[in-house]
Symmetry: C2
Subunit: 145 residues, 2 copies
Amino acid sequence: MPFESFEVGQKHTFGAYEVTEEEIIEFAQKYDAQFFHLDREAAKDSLFGGLCASGWHTCAMTMAMMVENMDGKGRSLGSPGIDSLSWLRPVYPGDVLCVEQEVLETNPSKSRPEIGIVVSKVSVSNQKNEVVMEFISKGIFRRGS
Amino acid sequence: MPFESFEVGQKHTFGAYEVTEEEIIEFAQKYDAQFFHLDREAAKDSLFGGLCASGWHTCAMTMAMMVENMDGKGRSLGSPGIDSLSWLRPVYPGDVLCVEQEVLETNPSKSRPEIGIVVSKVSVSNQKNEVVMEFISKGIFRRGS
């Protein structure tokens, strides 16, 4: 009963994603070819002070940790979207990211009694316990009854 | 003068990103390993009715179109985040995506007179003119004076 297994206030911490320069550059070449995600030397003159991951890459790495955490537990049926995404600090090569997810709301669907929406706050931190990204996540889960 | 080149109400349409099954699966294997992004047969039983792209992959493909559109024009210095992201329809293999970006606000920074924030609405559509994703984007741009 995945939907029923969520309770407001629950917090889970998970993940240990090691960020590499190689992966930062590979993602940026495909999807975010800005110099501060591609060129170690040129990036020193950017607002970020050095080569850093695309914000969308940080989202993708976060999703990888969330999916790994879902394994063997309730799997989401999908998501209608996210809110209030903030990229708070750059993510650098060598950083190790982890996720804290806190359940904010559990909303049974009015129109579709077989599903419900779980709203949670996702905070991603680096190995210095600095929050690098936050967003509000909405996940669709099947109801058990 | 990138920041000064933006005006509220400006709309630009750009991009033609061809979505392939191969790329959907490659992205999902790395970052979003849920069956509806990985397995063509199993995905028929999902809410989406077939294999579809990770929402984060749609974000990444959209960023690729936005960066390509920036080339030779004002380049962004970075972004503090996004708001109100909605995944409205699945993105399937064979879809061709394009972007409409409308400037909503141009806000000079109070604390840093050399930069300003451009707020815009980003709408991503497929080849049937169906909107598949929307979000509010914030970009940091250098001021010309």
